[in-house]
């Protein structure tokens, strides 16, 4: 099974990274780095919820919690049964 962090990183690169030369890692700042803005965060949250069949409460979906793939993985794991 593909690792969760690889799935999320691949999705972020595919959907949000405009500069194809940008080197992306699991720790690249997404929100504070301006790669994913606050409006687009809604679609990233929706992806995680659909992909992992979870529901992330709005109060947990903070810019800090979405600021890197590694942080997102931590968040998603909180909600996977």
């Amino acid at each position: 099974m593909e690792e969760m962090k690889d799935v999320i990183l691949e999705y972020v690169i595919e959907e949000y990274v405009e500069d194809e030369d940008e080197e992306m890692t699991y720790d690249t700042p997404l929100i504070s780095g301006g790669i994913v803005d606050s409006f687009s965060m809604v679609s990233l949250k929706r992806f995680l919820e659909a992909k992992y069949k979870i529901s992330i409460p709005d109060e947990k979906a903070s810019p800090e919690a979405f600021d890197s793939v590694n942080k997102i993985v931590e968040l998603v794991k909180e909600f996977i049964g």
Partner: protein, 568 residues
């Protein structure tokens, strides 16, 4: 003591010549915003004063004095001239909040060309529509956005130059692409600023309406007169202030009060070019000892959401004056800011078309939380009956906001759309499209838009544009787009759609539609909710009745629908 002093005293015998005199301008003189924001400040003895402290990701900093901004904007101007770009040509600035955006903007103005700043998060379709309308000659962009420009270059024959400011040599340049390195470019000798006059075109900002394509709002160099004085009296900028305007110059606040206002006064400003987080913003204020902070309700509400505890981790004691713009600032946010920062955010009301502040709360004036305040001196404001367009004299009654035309920063036209421009004036009043009441003390209170335009996070989104883009998605047959209430952004986009046969409603389809719009138009235009319906409510002539969908979202009474005209 604030710059404005007593508001009531200022109302007496006010004349815009106050601003003209302070700027040393006389009727008929040359007036060039680029010169006023750089050369003049240097001539006033502030050449070595910091104009810009820029911070990017990871705390990377760049600093520019007014002399640096003067020289670098001259370099931009000289480079554009070397390409044959001349006065009245449209030059688009399509960049994140990097120094080249701020300085390049002035370089464009210095050669008499028209600066066309566009929000860098726009998708290729949004970008193309705006370039096509203006028949833009050149676009100045950065490496990360070149991909979007390449998508539209073939269908944009008028676009002669694609200028990349941070090319690293990795990508091969394509036809019409060239590079410009601001710092490495040789300082031009004897650079001559184009002798623009009061009515010479300066800036073309795009804004969305209910119907039709986005409108290019044309401003002129004389707008400086309003922008200078409103900055001085409302933002109260004083010599030693460190100013932070959080707006992106892709929108009007970012140019009127993120470039022109502060720099025409000679004030140091800071720019943070990273994404939003409460901690990074507070850190930025603490680090640079920001004194005056001009922000937006969406950001303020996001900070409220982050809580009060985090604020205690930072020293924000440098702050002395706060103001807000973009959409109405709710009373709770005003009160909260007073509690946690020791200063209330003063709401200011204006729009792309007005070019400068119209209704505002002033320093040293009693604040009524939730109110937009009072008219700036020199602005005649009222509320009008929606049918007769006569002023309403009754206190507390809802009407359309109306302004008497004639202030310096008023738009001069919509680009190639004089008819729509004229339609904004009724009975001698300019109508910004909002409804309000006025209380017994003369304070204005926002009620709502008078049309279907969605104000999300302080940015206007056209439902028509989103509906049209949705129809290009293969799964969608029909669409209707309305505003949905949102705690942080005031409104967000909601779409109602009917699907083609063969498409199943599931989470991935919804995500696919959201991303389709995000990339095509912009993240702001992306529906945050999609509702699938069997059919959309229509008039007998087949026009979709957005009003009913809007009323449903806002829990309003939809009223008697039987009497609706076919074309309503």
């Amino acid at each position: 003591m604030s710059n404005i002093g007593s508001y009531d005293e200022r109302l007496k015998n006010f004349d815009w010549s106050i601003s003209e005199k302070e700027l040393g301008y006389k009727d008929g003189d040359v007036i060039n915003i680029g010169w006023y924001c750089t050369d003049r400040i240097c001539e006033m003895g502030k050449a070595d004063k910091l104009a810009l402290i820029w911070e990017g990701l990871g705390g990377v900093e760049k600093k520019f004095t007014f002399n640096d901004v003067r020289i670098n904007s001259n370099k931009f101007g000289a480079f554009l001239r070397s390409l044959g770009i001349k006065n009245e040509d449209r030059v688009c600035l399509f960049m994140d909040k990097i120094p080249e955006l701020y300085i390049g903007f002035l370089g464009v103005l210095k050669i008499g060309a028209i600066a066309q700043p566009l929000f860098s998060a726009f998708g290729d379709e949004s970008l193309h529509v705006r370039l096509d309308n203006a028949k833009t000659t050149a676009i100045i962009t950065q490496r990360k956005h070149v991909g979007k420009v390449r998508k539209l270059i073939e269908k944009s024959p008028y676009l002669k130059h694609v200028i990349i400011v941070n090319h690293d040599g990795k990508k091969t340049l394509k036809e019409r692409e060239l590079t410009f390195d601001m710092e490495a470019y040789e300082e031009p000798k004897d650079f001559e600023i184009f002798l623009t006059k009061a009515e010479s075109s300066s800036v073309l900002h795009y804004t969305s309406g209910t119907t039709g394509q986005p409108k290019g709002v044309k401003h002129v160099h004389y707008s400086l007169i309003s922008q200078y004085l409103t900055t001085k009296w409302v933002l109260d900028l004083q010599e030693d202030d460190i100013y932070w305007c959080t707006a992106d110059p892709g929108w009007v606040t970012g140019t009127s009060y993120g470039i022109i206002g502060p720099w025409s006064i000679g004030i140091t400003q800071c720019v943070l070019d990273t994404g939003f987080s409460a901690s990074s913003w507070y850190e930025f204020i603490q680090k640079h000892k920001i004194t005056m902070w001009y922000s937006a309700p969406t950001a303020i509400r996001s900070l409220m959401k982050a809580g009060d505890e985090i604020i205690k981790e930072y020293d924000l004691s440098s702050l002395r004056h706060l103001a807000s713009v973009g959409e109405p600032l709710n009373a709770e946010a005003v009160i909260w800011s007073g509690k946690v920062f020791g200063h209330e955010f003063l709401d200011t009301y204006w729009q792309t078309e007005t070019g400068s502040m119209m209704l505002t709360n002033f320093p040293d004036m009693k604040i009524k939380p939730g109110s937009m305040g009072k008219p700036f001196p020199g602005i005649t404001a009222t509320i009008l009956d929606s049918k007769t367009f006569e002023p309403i004299t009754e206190t507390g009654k809802i009407g359309l906001i109306g302004f008497k035309p004639g202030w310096p920063a008023m738009m001069r036209t919509y680009w190639n759309n004089e008819e729509t421009y004229k339609s904004k004036f009724k009975n001698g009043w300019y109508l910004p499209g909002d409804r309000s009441t006025i209380d017994k003390d003369g304070y204005f209170w926002f009620v709502g838009r008078d049309d279907d335009v969605i104000n999300t996070g302080g940015h206007l989104v056209s439902p028509f544009e989103v509906e049209s883009a949705l129809l290009e998605h293969e799964a969608i047959v029909e669409s209707a787009v309305v505003a949905k209430p949102d705690e942080v952004n005031m409104e967000v986009v909601k779409a109602f759609v009917t699907l083609n046969s063969g498409y199943e409603i599931d989470d991935m389809l919804e995500l696919n539609i959201m991303n389709f719009i995000r990339k095509k138009l912009s993240p702001l235009a992306m529906p945050q909710e999609i509702e699938y319906v069997d059919s959309l409510p229509k008039t007998r002539s087949g026009k979709i009745m957005r009003r009913l969908l809007h009323a449903k979202e806002w829990g309003e009474d939809i009223g008697d629908t039987s009497g609706l005209d076919d074309d309503e």
